[in-house]
Symmetry: C2
Subunit: 200 residues, 2 copies
């Protein structure tokens, strides 16, 4: 396991229990109101152990956020097969994650991000640096408009998340992953690889 | 004396002052925290007069929400010219409204909608019944998948609002209305009139 923070990885089961408790706390209370003390209680450990394994609440939050949508796990699935059809695969993977139990954490993160500048910054950084830049780079789509393409993809996918999972707008809620991939996949495909109407 | 609401229309200048103060309060505090008392203070009137003109906080909110994006004003602009190019015109009008001072109220409404089920219901109903259904009907695009088309348009436009105005994701923030219309217009056009990959 990679140790990016210099913190002890700790006992895997305890670490996982703390992450689970933190996801529940962040989902239920939002970042600001969730406390290390409550999370420690939820995990059945001492607060000092949470700090020992994860550091600050911010570091714990990043660990909790990264886990439900781990780009190192998902991006290879999306990129398998190369550029052709990547839009539909990205939509399908996105819907699968949000439809899973992990989607609750993602929805809480999105809710928190639109009301809290700090969380917005984290989500922005996470979406752009961990997901979209990586996907663009690994697909060999780098170019002067790469970040605009990434932003357009984010606008459509976060819009799907907002309407389907947060506002619960029908018939998007009842639509299947196949229907959504068929309808929205070509949009994402064009944003990544097609004509987006920009000069230069 | 009674109009549609049964409330007195009141002095136009006072009514407008109350609406302006309510928009500022809803934008700054969100629906839940804004109070008639604060709004009355902001408008320089007695709280009883706010109730007299607008009724409950909910009725005042609806009046405040409807004004900044009045579909009766905007839809004719978007539909001028018919189906051809309607996607780009819809994106351009959407961006113009959100870029205007009225966009602050719209952003506050979106923020409130993702964290408050009641506001989400209002926004959902407003977007679907007042904007998208009307546009679909007036463009003669009714069909079995009309509401899915409307939902897809909402997913892209609310996603643009979320990323450009709430999360402030670059380079979407710096993009011009022309750039956004060129990039996103074809998406909206396809969702409204093109192949969205659904059987039947």
């Amino acid at each position: 396991m990679a140790r990016r923070t210099g913190r002890r990885p700790g006992n895997p089961a305890t670490r996982e229990a703390i992450l689970q408790a933190s996801r529940a706390a962040f989902a239920e209370r939002g970042y600001d109101a969730a406390s290390i003390r409550q999370i420690a209680t939820g995990a059945g450990v001492d607060p000092a152990l949470v700090h020992h394994y994860f550091g600050t609440k911010e570091q714990l939050f990043l660990a909790a956020v990264q886990a439900p949508i781990d780009p190192r796990e998902l991006i290879p699935q999306v990129l398998a097969g190369g550029v052709d059809g990547v839009g539909a695969r990205l939509v399908r993977t996105f819907v699968r994650v949000w439809d899973s139990p992990r989607g609750g954490t993602a929805a809480a993160l999105l809710r928190s991000a639109v009301t809290n500048e700090w969380t917005a910054r984290m989500l922005r950084e996470f979406v752009i640096t961990q997901i979209l830049r990586r996907a663009i780079r690994e697909l060999g789509l780098e170019g002067p408009d790469a970040m605009l393409r990434a932003g357009l993809v984010a606008s459509q996918l976060l819009g799907l998340a907002t309407t389907r999972y947060v506002l619960k707008l029908e018939p998007l809620v009842s639509a299947t992953a196949d229907q959504l991939a068929a309808a929205i996949g070509p949009t994402v495909q064009r944003y990544l690889t097609g004509d987006i109407g920009q000069d230069g």
